[in-house]
Assembly symmetry: C2
Homo-oligomer: 186 residues x 2
Amino acid sequence: MGWSEAKKRALAMLEDHIKAGRIDDDMLDLLRAINNRTDLFTTSSCSGRIQLYETELPGTKFGLRTVKKWHRPVEVEELVLNGDNLWMAMLPPILHVSARDMRSALLFISTARRSGFKRGGINSAKNFKVNIEVQGTERMDVPLILDRRIVVPGDVLPRVVDRANRLLVRSKVRIRRLTEMLQENL
Amino acid sequence: MGWSEAKKRALAMLEDHIKAGRIDDDMLDLLRAINNRTDLFTTSSCSGRIQLYETELPGTKFGLRTVKKWHRPVEVEELVLNGDNLWMAMLPPILHVSARDMRSALLFISTARRSGFKRGGINSAKNFKVNIEVQGTERMDVPLILDRRIVVPGDVLPRVVDRANRLLVRSKVRIRRLTEMLQENL
């Protein structure tokens, strides 16, 4: 399977995901702007999120259970404070993109970095595809419960949630900026 | 300036940094293992750290002031809890490496990923240098004081510090693993 065929399949899969409501609205314009380039296509993405997860120690997928996630700011009342070890994370937007060649991959990364997707780069290159991951820098990983003890008391929790919300909103600005930079450049 | 000349200069600068005690001991073997490769050299690194910093909102260098940092586990008593907005971060090891060509860059990234440096990749390629950034996945960013209010009370703070310490220790295992993989491969 060549690159063009791989892109065709990826776009068909993306249309299925969009119809099924699995793609966050915030992300649609950016995915289209990338896929409009003849030398790029998207393989997966997340528009940034706030999530509650159970784990003793973060950083590995193993032993981590996602309790709830939101791709928008949350209200304190929405948080379900249960479990032995509960963490709240704000994860920045992430994009996986496949490029036809090194030149177009490096050009995309340079544009992404200038719009605030400063983490990531080319991860691998095989079967005629150059695989890219880029991610924003904003991030929080706060323990809310450790060993069944409340870490953040109820009276300051709204401040912590407010910071996570502001960080999420700021990280979503990167999405718009990258979309516009790609559109202007067409 | 060609690649070999750039490597020679980078190694000389590294020796200066080592003599001045600016390179963390944890990192020395790994830096040597990378620099022993004819097609790679290191440009900067951090072995992972716990740090206290003041900022209203994390994620940007602008408006962030580092209060204190440790490249080893910390004791609760070492934390200085001052300021209007104080955060504690555990940042994973990070490596910046320059490769002679795409092939050796991709090979290094693949090895790095297998040892747990799963974030990052090729960031740019110019002037005969392929520039790589790789980083571990472990991370914490916890607010300790927000708007002059204590977020994590003193009785649970030791648990939060313990988690940061365990995360730091685990992230340093990646350094050893990557060192060994590179040495075996020589």
